[in-house]
Symmetry: C2
Subunit: 351 residues, 2 copies
C-alpha cells in the first residue's frame, strides 16, 4: 500500500466508520426523503404511503454462534432484527430479500434449516420473500437481509422529531436477551469440559427465548395506529439502551433525563443476574439484543397509552445545549451516560 | 446433526439450491408482480411505474481476487453487476444499499477505497446510496448490494415473454472479460515467481477494462425507450451466454437457433485467445462477466435497431416442445447447448 495511511477500524469503531463512509454521498432523486442516518431509508414513491428500506448483515462468529443457536433460529432472528428497524420508523414490513454466503462444509439440509426459520418469520409477519442470492463462502456463514416496509406518509417517525418535555418511553423489558446469551455460553463451556453433561435450561426458558427467538414490536405499531398516536421520535434499541439514548438525544438536539428505577426489568432477569453476579441495571442498559423500541410521546399521546402494560415511561426530554443523557440512579445521584453500545469492530461492552 | 441427510451443495449446484430454497414461498401482497425467478423482483407500488429490486452478494476469493483487482474497482464493479440486473428488466437504477463485512486486517483507508468505487458508480449512474451496514468479518471481504430501479409499468421485460420467430439479439461483444481475467492471472503467477518482473499490460487494455471496470448497458435501455421498443424477453448474461440461452429458452418455453458466426467477438478477444491457445467462441459462450444483455425482439422492433452497432442478431426463437438451444457451428453442423455457466459452488467451467 506504499505510503497510504493505515488506520485500524477498531480505532474509530462502527459508527466512526459509517460517518467516514457516509461523507460526500449525493442524493439525486427527489423521492428520497431519508437516506443514511435513521433506522431505515424513506422513499416517497406512491401517493399515500412512504416506503421504508433497511438492511443488515449477520456474520457467524460475530453476530451469532451456531454452537448453541439452532440454524432455524438464526434464520428467524435475522428477519426479526430487520423488522425491528421498520417498526422503529412506525411502519409494518412488506417484502424481504435474503442473501446467504455458505461455508464449504455446509450441507443443503443445513441451509434449508436457515431458510425454514426465514420463511416462518416471513409467514408470521406477512412478508413477501421476493429475492436473494446464494453463494459460496470461504469463511463463516453470512446472512444479508434487505427489508421493505410502509406506513402512511404522515405517520413516518424519525429519530429526530422529539420536543422538550416529551415523555421518554420504552417497550417491553430489557436485559433478558443478554442474560439468555450468558446462560448459553455458560452451558456451552460446561459441555465442552464434559461432553456427557446434560444442560437443564428449563429454569431459563424466558431468557433463552428472548435471546434465540425474539419477536419484533409489530403489536406496538398497531396500537399506535389504532389510538391515532404518532411518536415524536423513535429508535430500535437492539444495540443497547444506553447507546440508543445517546443517538436519540443527539438526533433530536435535546437532553434526556432517565430514571433508573423506571427501566423495565423482568423478574427472570433480576433473578438470573443475581445468580451470575451481574447488575441487572447494567444488563438492561448495555446488554443489547432486546428488540424493543425507545420513543418519545407528547404528553397528550402519552395519556392514551399510560395504562397499557407494554409501555414504560422512563424519563423525559429537556432543552439542553450539550444533549446530555442524565441517568438518575436513586437518592440524589445521577450519572452522564456515555456511548457503550455493542460494536462488532470492538470488544463486547464491559459488563 | 443425528440422522439428518447430508447433501453436499456441489451435488445440486447454485440453481439446484435456489430451486430447493424457493419452494413453498407464499406471496401475500397483491403489489408483488414478480418475486424470485427473474433478474429482479417487480413491485407495483406506484401508479405509472413498476419498481424493480435485485440483490447480489460478492465474496472475496470467490467473485473477486484482491491480489490483482484494485479495491476501488471491486466497489465499482459490485454496483455495475447489480445495475445490469435492473437493465435486464428494461429499467434504470434509482437507489442502492450496501453492506460490507470487513476482514480484521483491513484499514479504514482500504474500506474507503471500496466505497470510492461504489460512490463513483452511483454518481455515474444517478443512483442514491440510501443505506447499508458495516460489520466485522472473520473471513474474507464480503459486499452485499441491493439495488432498486424503475420503469413504466408497460415496459417491464421478463425472461418469459418471447414468441416464436422473434429475433435473438445480444448487445456488445462477448469473451473479453474472461480473457482479461486470464491475462491478470498469468501476470500474477509470473510476478509470484519473480517479484522484480514488471508486467506490460498495455497490449491488453481493452480486455482488462472489460474485466476490471465493466459498464452496464444503460445506453441500450435508453435506446429502447427512445425508439419505443419493448423486447419480448430479456436476461443479463454475466453468468455466461450459454447458460443464459438455456434459461431464456426454458422461461419462454421455446427453442432457440443460434448461429455461432454471428456471436460478436472483438478483435482483441480473437487475438488474445489465439495467444493463450483458447477458442474465442468457447470464451464467448462460457467465459461470463460480460455485462451484456440477451433479448428477443419482434421482427417489427428488430427493424428499428438492425443498423445500430451495439446490437447483434445471433439467431431466432422456434416453437419446440423440448426447448432445445441449437448452436449452428458452420457447414451443416449443430450442437445442443447444455448448461455450463459459472457456479460459485462448482469449479470454474472447463474452457
Amino acid at each position: 500500500m506504499g505510503n497510504v495511511k493505515f488506520t485500524p477500524i477498531s480505532e474509530i469503531g462502527e459508527f466512526g466508520l459509517i460517518d467516514r463512509l457516509s461523507e460526500n454521498i449525493n442524493i439525486k432523486h427527489t423521492e428520497t426523503k431519508m437516506g443514511i442516518g435513521d433506522d431505515a431509508a424513506v422513499l416517497s414513491i406512491s401517493k399515500d404511503f412512504d416506503h421504508l428500506v433497511s438492511t443488515d448483515m449477520l456474520v457467524g462468529g460475530v453476530h451469532f454462534d451456531i454452537t448453541y443457536a439452532p440454524l432455524k433460529h438464526v434464520g428467524y432472528k435475522s428477519i426479526v432484527t430487520n423488522i425491528s428497524d421498520i417498526c422503529a420508523m412506525n411502519g409494518l414490513p412488506t417484502h424481504a430479500l435474503i442473501s446467504i454466503a455458505v461455508p464449504n462444509k455446509y450441507s443443503v439440509e443445513m441451509i434449508e434449516e436457515v431458510y425454514m426459520g426465514i420463511k416462518l418469520a416471513c409467514d408470521n409477519y406477512a412478508i413477501d420473500l421476493i429475492g436473494g442470492d446464494t453463494t459460496a463462502s470461504s469463511g463463516p456463514l453470512i446472512i444479508s437481509i434487505t427489508i421493505f416496509g410502509k406506513t402512511e406518509s404522515q405517520r413516518v417517525t424519525y429519530r429526530s422529531g422529539s420536543k422538550p418535555n416529551d415523555v421518554l418511553v420504552v417497550t417491553g423489558n430489557l436485559g433478558a436477551a443478554y442474560l439468555g446469551l450468558q446462560i448459553l455460553e455458560r452451558e456451552n463451556s460446561i459441555f465442552q469440559e464434559n461432553k456427557l453433561s446434560q444442560p437443564n435450561l428449563s429454569a431459563y426458558s424466558y431468557l433463552l427465548e428472548r435471546q434465540l427467538k425474539p419477536e419484533p414490536r409489530i403489536d406496538v405499531i398497531k396500537i399506535f395506529k389504532k389510538l391515532n398516536i404518532v411518536p415524536t421520535s423513535m429508535i430500535d434499541i437492539s444495540d443497547g439502551l444506553s447507546s440508543e439514548l445517546i443517538h436519540l438525544s443527539n438526533s433530536s438536539g435535546l437532553g434526556l433525563k432517565v430514571f433508573a428505577n423506571q427501566i423495565p426489568i423482568s423478574d427472570e432477569t433480576k433473578k438470573t443476574s443475581k445468580e451470575l453476579n451481574l447488575d441487572p441495571l447494567v444488563c438492561a442498559l448495555h446488554g443489547g439484543e432486546d428488540y424493543e423500541l425507545l420513543l418519545t410521546l407528547s404528553l397528550n399521546d402519552y395519556e392514551k397509552i399510560k395504562d397499557v402494560s407494554v409501555f414504560s415511561a422512563i424519563g423525559h426530554t429537556v432543552k439542553q445545549k450539550d444533549h446530555r443523557v442524565e441517568l438518575f440512579t436513586g437518592g440524589n445521584g445521577s450519572i452522564n451516560l456515555k456511548e457503550e453500545g455493542w460494536d462488532p469492530f470492538k470488544k463486547k461492552p464491559n459488563i
